[in-house]
Symmetry: C2
Subunit: 796 residues, 2 copies
């Protein structure tokens, strides 16, 4: 069917593609994703991810020689990377926590001391410290790393879905995120450091994978195994899990978060490595905490770093409590959905009007938010009159009142000797301590309903306004704050209503926190596990599940999850796992539109390549060749990025328009694989980087060694639902739409794909009775087919 000439081209391409050292690489080619550059409204661009790796023959030939040793080596390096990501992320998390706790601790101590003398001086110092910290954060972000603003989770989700937002995984983003987080969280804004930690984990992973920052990376040979996009994506997934594990000290939660929320293509092999990274994070954080316990870390150590233990709380629950718990779920769903909607609109307005006016506006905006936050958190507790301390029980270990910013309840704030201010206990305190106080058991009636309601309204508004400003900001901790406030409020009513039950308000606060996060982020299993891990109590697992189910269901009735909404806003075009409804009535041909297909011949003149690349912005081009009988055949697909590399390097230019013939000997080695790999988060080569002499333009390139010789194809009238499933499941970047086939060469069913490993001789021997018999039977049947002259009329 294929003429010799043509066959030669296909064979050459296949030759090279088949020389890959291990099966991962070609599967990788399948599991790829792409999106062409989209001009966003703020002038920045979202870039395509060139997942498809050219299997450079030179590099692969070299690797193929190494064989088993290389494969072992590559596995070792991958695990080593997982180890390093775990250690790195854990250390950064500890560093951020130490810094934040110390800044906040100093701030509250100092302010508190000043309050004793002058209320106004205290307020002034408090406000100025907050402002200074927040200013440092916004300065770093606006001047140095604009991509560090926000939580970064939508962008990471996009990266793992196949969209490389420019600058998202750079070294400067990492630095901006670390120091920006310290400033914004230390400065008392209504945001958390947990979302940024996920981004930080991803950055660390990405940089480790390419041996340093994009600009100055070490081109170490031993990192060349991470030249495939799939391996890099795996590393980033590990980084995300490490981030969550470090942020919440929740290793299992981290694995599940990576699985449920961020990845698009999950492989069970990866789970194992992600799990390892999380375990490492757990061990390193544990060790650091133990080291800090001796007081070497300042204010950090005694409290701090999540785990709001409620193991001392409620022992059991009764059926009567399920109703108020369901009610908490409904509130969570409603408030969460409202939060998503409000933040969406405000962020939209910010992106399109406010932030277009430049960095100065961004800085001023953050400063105003900081001032308002300081004013409210300092001012409002003033209006609350102090509450007398509960009658001290010698065994309970409750100390009342305490200084703000320290670990514990009953914060003194301009109160008398045996009094505390309940609003200050949650408002004039670090968020970690506030949550711990809200979750605390054995402290019934610590808070008045009025204080909780005031706090809920104020903090909710602050959280909505703060979201989307130009500082690194996570939504987990604010969400937990909001949720636990109304949870505790409901708990108070339950305590009053069911007088006799052994109910702890802290339990309801925990459920409230779960419900708000469920209503806003719409995660299920991972959130549930994170809540269990941070509360260190497994007893409430079914209750948390129940509340999450309700709040997610209620939230889903209104809008999408927070990350999806934000991804949409940022024009990160995520491919969902499920095809859209209207795709049912479309075909592949309709979806591909009526664009004229731009082909390349196998051997193409350089000047033609250049003009074609200039004339359109396609990212992939089919390559055709002619058989001797004059028929055309599609021999593969070539990527724009690879063409640009070929044009830039020039080494593959040839004078003759004749294709390379594989009978002439092995394909000459001219390229290094790394040349074809675009560094993460950078723009790669553009057509403007190409400088060619007139002589160059008259030369030819044989594309056969560089093309993907068998891209996936779909018939023109296939339903778009099926096309979508294929595209999404395999993570493709290009699909060729071809005419219906005129004949079928073979059928592949499961039995054709059951190939036994040759190494497992014992197993094959054992299996022979079952499998070989069957195969023999099958062969016999085939022979029988061949002997059926009766059916000749039907057999083509």
């Amino acid at each position: 069917m294929l003429s010799n000439h043509l066959q030669n081209g296909v064979e050459t391409a296949k030759l090279i593609w088949s020389r890959l050292p291990n099966s991962e690489v070609e599967a990788d080619e399948a599991a790829s994703g792409e999106f062409s550059r989209i001009k966003k409204d703020d002038g920045s661009t979202v870039e395509s991810l060139d997942y498809e790796v050219i299997e450079n023959y030179a590099y692969r030939q070299e690797q193929a020689k190494r064989g088993k040793v290389y494969m072992t080596y590559s596995v070792v390096v991958k695990w080593l990377m997982a180890l390093l990501i775990g250690i790195g992320t854990a250390l950064v998390a500890v560093f951020i926590n130490i810094s934040v706790e110390n800044f906040a601790g100093w701030k509250y101590s100092w302010t508190f001391n000043l309050i004793q003398k002058s209320y106004f001086t205290g307020f002034l110092v408090y406000t100025l410290i907050n402002l200074a910290l927040v200013l440092s954060s916004v300065y770093i972000v606006t001047q140095f790393s604009p991509e560090a603003a926000g939580s970064g989770i939508p962008e990471i989700k996009g990266y793992l879905n196949g969209i490389d937002t420019h600058g998202i995984l750079l070294f400067r983003t990492l630095v901006g995120k670390i120091f920006g987080s310290i400033g914004s969280v230390g400065g008392g804004l209504a945001l958390g450091k947990e979302g940024p930690l996920v981004h930080i984990g991803a950055c660390i992973a990405s940089m480790l994978g390419q041996g340093g920052s994009t600009k100055y990376h070490l081109r170490t040979r031993w990192l060349q195994i991470f030249t495939s996009e799939r391996d890099r994506r795996d590393l980033v997934t590990c980084g995300c899990a490490a981030g969550v594990a470090a942020a919440f000290r929740a290793p299992v939660g981290g694995v599940l978060f990576a699985l449920e929320e961020v990845t698009s293509w999950w492989r069970s092999q990866l789970m194992w490595r992600v799990f390892f990274t999380s375990a490492i994070v757990g061990v390193v954080v544990q060790t650091a905490m133990a080291w800090c316990k001796s007081g070497k870390c300042g204010h950090f150590g005694s409290g701090g770093f999540i785990i709001w233990d409620i193991s001392g709380g409620q022992e059991d629950y009764s059926f009567q409590e399920l109703l108020p718990m369901a009610f908490i779920g409904v509130i969570g769903g409603l408030l969460g959905a409202l939060f998503n909607q409000l933040t969406f609109h405000i962020a939209y307005w910010r992106r399109n009007y406010l932030h277009k006016r430049g960095n100065r506006v961004k800085v001023i905006e953050v400063c105003i938010v900081s001032l308002i936050t300081s004013l409210i958190s300092f001012g409002l507790p003033l209006f609350r009159k102090c509450t007398p301390c509960p009658v001290a029980d010698a065994n309970s270990g409750i100390e009342c009142p305490r200084r703000p910013g320290m670990y514990g309840n009953y914060v003194n704030f301009y109160c008398g000797d045996k009094e505390y201010n309940d609003l200050a206990t949650i408002f004039f305190n670090t968020q970690d301590d506030a949550i711990r106080n809200l979750f605390s058991a054995k402290t019934i009636h610590e808070f008045s309903a009025q204080s909780l309601l005031t706090f809920l309204v104020m903090f909710y508004s602050l959280a909505v306004v703060t979201f989307g400003t130009a500082v690194p900001a996570g939504q987990f901790v604010p969400g937990i704050m909001i949720g636990s406030t109304y949870g505790r409020l409901v708990g108070m009513f339950v305590v009053n209503f069911y007088q006799k039950l052994n109910i702890e308000e802290g339990t309801y606060a925990l459920l409230g926190a779960a419900s708000f996060l469920g209503g806003s982020m719409r995660m299920t299993v991972s959130l549930c596990v994170i809540m269990v891990e941070i509360s260190n109590n497994l007893k409430f697992l079914p209750l948390i599940m129940l509340v999450l189910l309700i709040s997610k269901a209620v939230g889903d009735a209104f809008n999408e999850g927070l990350y999806e909404e934000q991804a949409r806003l940022r024009a990160i075009p995520l491919l969902e796992s499920k095809p859209k409804y209207q795709m049912r009535n479309m075909t592949a041909k309709e979806a591909s539109g009526n664009q004229r297909i731009v082909y390349f011949p196998r051997v193409v003149k350089v000047v033609d390549v250049l003009s074609i690349l200039r004339s359109n912005n396609h990212n992939g081009f089919p390559v055709i060749d002619h058989t001797r009988s004059g028929e055309t055949l599609v021999i593969g697909l070539i990527l724009r990025s690879h063409l640009l590399v070929l044009l830039q390097s020039k080494v593959d230019f040839q004078h003759s328009p004749l294709p390379f013939n594989s009978t002439d000997g092995p394909v000459p080695i001219r390229h290094n694989l790394t040349e074809f790999v675009k560094p993460v988060s950078s723009k790669g080569i553009t057509i403007d980087d190409i400088h060619l002499t007139p002589d160059d333009l008259e030369m030819y390139i044989d594309l056969a060694p560089f093309l993907n010789s068998s891209p996936y194809v779909v018939p023109e009238d296939m339903s778009l639902t099926k096309v979508y499933t294929l595209f999404r499941q395999l993570g493709l970047r290009h699909l060729l739409v071809v005419p219906r086939a005129s004949r079928v060469i073979g059928m592949i069913s499961r039995r054709d794909l059951l190939i036994e490993d040759n190494e497992d001789t014992l197993a094959i021997e054992l299996q022979s009775t079952s499998v070989r018999d069957h195969q023999d039977g099958r062969r016999a049947l085939r022979r029988k087919d061949a002997e059926q002259p009766l059916l000749d009329g039907l057999i083509v």
Copy 2:
């Protein structure tokens, strides 16, 4: 390109495929799996799963009218099913536990009373009770439900991978599994009831999905939404999760087990429903336990039902302990791999020699195992001399000695007043209580090293021998027994070696259990979560992770996991997620072999259909049609099972050899979708069920309405690695291998698949600035393409 005539055929098929009420159904068609019948060595067959559902026009037309209401309804039914599966599985689990605990409780009480008088009478009664229980179990299994033997997890894994082992999800298997488990576990064999519970959950789910048992199922209209294999598979996944959740009272562990171990195609939408099922199980079991606490359930209630709480144990761990813990991991890996290897060989021998001799041999075999087990568990403790009870601490609440079969340590066994027998504490006890004793804290030096070692060797041997006998048998609890024994042994040495540390032997027992399960089953995250949930202690999470990592790595160096080995032994051909190494050098054409393709024309004579079906055992046939110019075109794929339905029902036979023309009006409604659906675990229609008159044979069938008009295709020279990825990821059953395309009609990239929901008007409006601009730009570019005469030479 397509002539009118041909177009008509394709259009008719497309017409019907496009009338599906919601997108799930067609995606389902994509996510399908198949395996043709394999004759196994024991004469039984593994059957194909006809995942591909014919989209019967009659049914679909009807549903399409219902529209939104139907979709809401189908969602409600799905959730209702999840609820019912949860409740059903939980109740069965409670029933099994109550029965086992009571049988075992009576047995031990009675025996213990008899021992006081005569040792021999006690032994006789003990042995006979055990034998009677085990006999009942093996009788049920051999006579009534042979598929209930073993754990059933490999078969369920196979089902979810696309292989329907005959009889695995029938009502009789469910009944056999429930009562067989009670007999075999109550009879004191070295096996557990947790694996069978997974199978039970799957059976319940499958039966609920088809409205009762296969034989007598209610053909209720409201269950017709479960006619698609994907929906059924989802239900079975829910059932597996419910089984684990109920078996271990570990809801999150259940979800993760379903995710990590049993499913092959996971969708994030499903996670949510599985999670719900698990939560329901948790609530129902909790309620039942609370009800039993008042003593209504006999011996069940006080202890029983897993959760071996070690929350009162070790508070912290030091670095010095990591070495012995790693050592436990290594032992676990070695012993686990050895266990897999031994059971594999023994089971192979059993299948091929012993069990072929009939049911009587199976019964005798189980009886002998039961006798040996009784003898060892009763006899060995006799050789141990009694140990004096530890000095009682009034506050510790430790009672010594106790009667066997009760909740607690220090079992009295023919001992004096203040003495206990340490070997009897673990051997002459229910497994649940034995594990609780091994895990127990504050009981240092309860067991002597000699006893533990004896128990380890004996129990390990018993577990190996018992595995594979004809009774329902799980490997979780025996694994935990074995692991915790050597774990506690290591713990004892650590206690002796590091005198000063606050070390609990129970902690090491827990780690030992984790390590053995990790070394044998090779699960990671799910096992880790299950261990945490059953020990009700989150503190050891990083340690369990570490131990699991080591034991799995060590085990992987030797062989595959237990379930994979067993699946291989049972000739369940699982398609792994990763392609095999040797596929790299093969093409699609080579894999499909040189078989002659058997085509059907669009309109085919009944006699020809019959002879083709008789002449081969293919399960799918390409259908071709001719254009007016005489060219042939492949218009789709028809399944053998659907052809058989057509032949059996006869309603679609026609006298004319002319195809149905869609311009004549709507396609006539003759079929009900359920007719095309094969009941689970049954053989479906075979060719012998077809009875046709000579008149029938001369008639024709127009296949167009029944064929899958666009099956997935691959070019003939595509690397088999890529083909495998496509086949496995989409869960296909047939792939057509076609020649290389001669031209490309269009290219589909991510942007072509980003279709916005029309309902979301606000979002579209907001997005317009980013997306519409971009699309306009793209259109402009296309126009530009069209205006490039310079490139005409290259544009075909």
